[in-house]
C-alpha cells in the first residue's frame, strides 16, 4: 500500500514544504532537530492541518486541501508512537493496550493480540500501572498499544530518543522484528544514523523544512548529502548479506555480502543462513593503493574508486565499488592528492570496524 504525502505549512518563522511517497516497508524521515520531521509526521497523522497539501494511503485520501477534505485523526486508523510513551496513567498496561481495540472496527481487529504482546515481550507487565514501568517498558507498551489498534500505517516519532543507550539497545531488536513480521508500512522519524541504518528501507533526508534527498538507506546515508558535520561524521555504508559460517572459537562470523565480497564481523550472535545488515562507518575505512601487509585489520576489500566528493572543509568522501557493493570512505583531501586517487583507480579499502545491525 503506497503512501503519498505533500504538505506546505507555516509555523511562525518555520516553513515546511515537503513531498514524498512510500511503497511500504520502513521509510525513515531523517534530519537534525528542527528540520520539520515531526511537523510532517503530525500532518500525516492529522494532528496538524496543513495549509496546503495531500495525504493519501492506497485509495484512501485523508487530506486534500484543494477539495477541502480533512479526515480527523480518530478516523484515519494511523498508529502513532510518540517520543514519550504517553500511556494513560489511570489505566493498567492491559487497559492501555486494549484502548485502541475498543475503537477499531471489528473486521480489522487483530485476531491474535497475544502475538504482538509476545513480539514486544510485555506479557509480564499486563497487570501493572504505567507509573511502575521503566522507560523502555513504557515505550514497548506504547508501541503495542498503537499496533493493537490495527492501524493501516504506523508512525513512529523518535520512539527511542528519550531513552538511554541501554534502553535503546533493548528496544531496537523488537522494532526489527516488527518491521519483518508486521506487514504495515512504517514511517520512522529519527536523527540517529545508527537507528535509521538499522531499520529503514528508504530514507527521506530533511533539512530546514525541505527534503534534501530521497533514496535507499545505503545511498542517502552514504555521505555527501548529509548536511551537518555530526551527520557526516556518522556517515557510512549499509550493506546486506548472508551469514556464511561462524567461528565460535574466535567469536567471528563470515558474512557474504550481496555484491559477492566476504567480510568478517566480530562478536556477532548470528547463525549461518541468516540475512543481516552491516554498517561500515566511512570514517573507519582507510584507502591503500597497494595491498597492505602486516595490518591488524581483518577486512581488506579490493575495489575501484567510483566517486570522489570533496566537502570543501579538507575532507573527501570516496565511493569504492567492491564487487557489487559500494563502500564509503572518508579521508582527507590531502590523502586524495598524495595517493593520486582518480576515478577508476584500483584500490584496497581497509575496514577497521564493521557494526552488525
Amino acid at each position: 500500500m503506497s503512501l503519498i504525502v505533500e504538505a506546505r505549512h507555516r509555523l511562525g518563522d518555520f516553513s515546511l514544504n515537503a513531498a514524498f511517497t512510500s511503497d511500504g516497508g520502513v521509510t525513515a524521515l531523517f534530519g537534525r532537530s528542527g528540520s520539520g520531521k515531526t511537523s510532517l509526521v503530525r500532518i500525516i497523522a492529522g494532528l496538524t492541518r496543513p495549509k496546503e497539501g495531500r495525504v493519501q494511503l492506497g485509495d484512501a485520501v485523508l487530506v486534500d486541501t484543494s477539495r477541502r477534505l480533512f479526515v480527523p485523526p480518530h478516523r484515519r486508523r494511523f498508529g502513532y508512537v510518540f517520543q514519550e510513551a504517553r500511556l494513560f496513567p489511570h489505566l493498567t498496561v492491559r487497559q492501555n493496550l486494549d484502548y485502541g481495540r475498543w475503537f477499531s472496527p471489528k473486521s480489522a481487529r487483530t485476531e491474535n493480540p497475544g502475538r504482538i504482546v509476545d513480539l514486544l515481550g510485555i506479557g509480564d507487565l499486563l497487570g501493572r500501572q504505567p507509573a511502575n514501568l521503566s522507560g523502555g517498558e513504557k515505550q514497548r507498551v506504547a508501541i503495542g498499544r498503537a499496533l493493537l489498534a490495527s492501524p493501516r500505517l504506523l508512525l513512529m516519532d523518535e520512539p527511542l530518543a528519550a531513552l538511554d543507550e541501554e534502553r535503546k539497545a533493548e528496544i531496537l531488536p523488537y522494532l526489527e522484528r516488527l518491521r519483518d513480521e508486521v506487514g504495515i508500512p512504517i514511517v520512522y522519524v529519527s536523527h540517529s544514523v545508527a537507528e535509521v541504518a538499522r531499520l529503514a528501507d528508504k530514507v527521506v533526508l530533511m533539512a530546514g523544512g525541505r527534503i534534501e534527498a530521497i533514496g535507499p538507506a545505503s545511498d542517502v546515508l552514504g555521505g555527501p548529502r548529509l548536511t551537518s558535520a555530526m551527520e557526516r561524521r556518522e556517515a557510512g555504508s549499509v550493506l546486506t548479506g548472508r551469514v556464511e559460517t561462524r567461528d565460535a572459537a574466535h567469536g567471528l562470523a563470515t558474512i557474504r555480502l550481496d555484491g559477492g565480497a566476504a567480510i568478517l564481523v566480530p562478536g556477532a550472535t548470528v547463525s549461518p543462513g541468516e540475512t543481516v545488515r552491516v554498517r561500515i562507518p566511512a570514517r573507519d575505512v582507510m584507502v591503500a593503493t597497494v595491498r597492505p601487509e602486516g595490518l591488524s585489520a581483518l577486512n581488506i576489500l579490493e575495489g575501484m574508486v567510483e566517486a570522489i566528493e570533496p566537502d570543501g572543509e579538507g575532507m573527501a568522501s570516496l565511493r569504492i565499488a567492491c564487487g557489487g557493493d559500494h563502500v564509503r570512505a572518508r579521508i582527507t583531501a590531502l590523502s586524495v592528492e598524495r595517493l593520486g586517487l582518480v576515478l577508476g583507480l584500483a584500490v584496497h579499502a581497509v575496514i577497521k570496524t564493521v557494526a552488525l545491525e
Binding site: F88, H90, A131
Partner: protein
C-alpha cells in the same frame, strides 16, 4: 443530655438543608463541567465576560445575588414568569428556589476547582487517544474525565459546603418558611432571634459542624483513592 435531643422542626431543617445542597450540587455539576471546559479550553468572544459572570456571586453581597434572583426568577421575573407559563415551575418561596440560590452561590467555587484540574491535564494524552481511534467525545469520557475526577470531587464538596452554609441569597430569594425554605442556617438565625433559643441554635450548630467535617473527610478519602491511581505518573 436532654438538651441535645433534636426537635421535629430542627430535623426538618437539617433534612431540608441536605436535600437543597445535594440537589444544588448535582444539578449544577454538568453545567459546571461545561463552563469549566469552555473557560479552560475555549477561545471565543466574551470569554472574560463569562468568567466575570460566573465569579459574580463570589464578589457580590449575597443579599444582592438573592435580590437579582428574585427579580429574574420570581413569579413575575423575566425568566420566572416563562418557567411558570411553559413548565409550571415556580421557584420563588419554594425549596427548589433555595436549591437554585445555593447552586448559584456555590457555582464559582465548583467551576474554579474543575477548571484548574482541566488545565492540569496533559493534552498529549488526549492527542494519543485520538490517534488510537477515540472521537473527541470518547476522549473526554475515557481520558479527560477520569483524570480530572479529583478536581471535580473537590469542586462538588466545596459547592456542597457553600450550599450548606448559604444564608443571605437564600433568605432574600425564598424567605424563611419552616418546612419549605428554612434551611439549617436560617433555622439557627431564627433561634437567635427568639428568647431562650440559644440551646436550639447550639444543637444545630453542632450538627452543622458535624456535617462539614464529614464532607471534608469524605472528600479527602475519595480524592486520595482516586489520586493514588491518577497522580502516580
Amino acid at each position: 443530655m436532654d438538651w441535645l435531643a433534636l426537635s421535629d422542626e430542627e430535623w426538618t431543617a437539617i433534612r431540608l438543608s441536605l436535600k437543597v445542597s445535594t440537589v444544588a450540587v448535582l444539578v449544577s455539576l454538568p453545567l459546571g463541567i461545561l463552563v469549566a471546559l469552555a473557560l479552560a479550553r475555549g477561545r471565543f468572544w466574551g470569554k472574560s465576560l463569562l468568567n466575570g459572570i460566573v465569579h459574580m456571586p463570589l464578589i457580590l453581597p449575597p443579599v444582592v445575588t438573592g435580590f437579582l434572583l428574585l427579580v429574574l426568577f420570581g413569579r413575575r421575573g423575566a425568566i420566572g414568569s416563562l418557567l411558570d407559563e411553559w413548565f409550571g415551575i415556580v421557584l420563588s418561596f419554594r425549596w427548589t428556589g433555595a436549591a437554585l440560590a445555593c447552586g448559584v452561590m456555590g457555582f464559582p467555587l465548583m467551576v474554579r476547582s474543575i477548571r484548574l484540574s482541566i488545565e492540569a491535564v496533559d493534552r498529549k494524552l488526549e492527542e494519543a487517544a485520538g490517534t488510537l481511534g477515540a472521537s473527541p467525545l470518547w476522549v473526554f469520557l475515557t481520558v479527560t474525565l477520569p483524570l480530572i475526577l479529583p478536581g471535580v470531587i473537590a469542586g462538588m464538596i466545596l459547592a456542597f459546603a457553600k450550599a450548606m452554609g448559604e444564608f443571605g441569597a437564600t433568605i432574600t430569594f425564598v424567605s424563611n418558611i419552616p418546612g419549605e425554605t428554612q434551611t439549617l442556617s436560617a433555622a439557627i438565625y431564627t433561634f437567635t432571634q427568639v428568647p431562650g433559643g440559644d440551646a436550639g441554635a447550639m444543637r444545630l450548630t453542632l450538627v452543622a459542624i458535624a456535617i462539614s467535617m464529614a464532607a471534608l473527610l469524605a472528600s479527602e478519602v475519595l480524592a486520595q483513592r482516586i489520586g493514588r491511581k491518577v497522580h502516580l505518573e
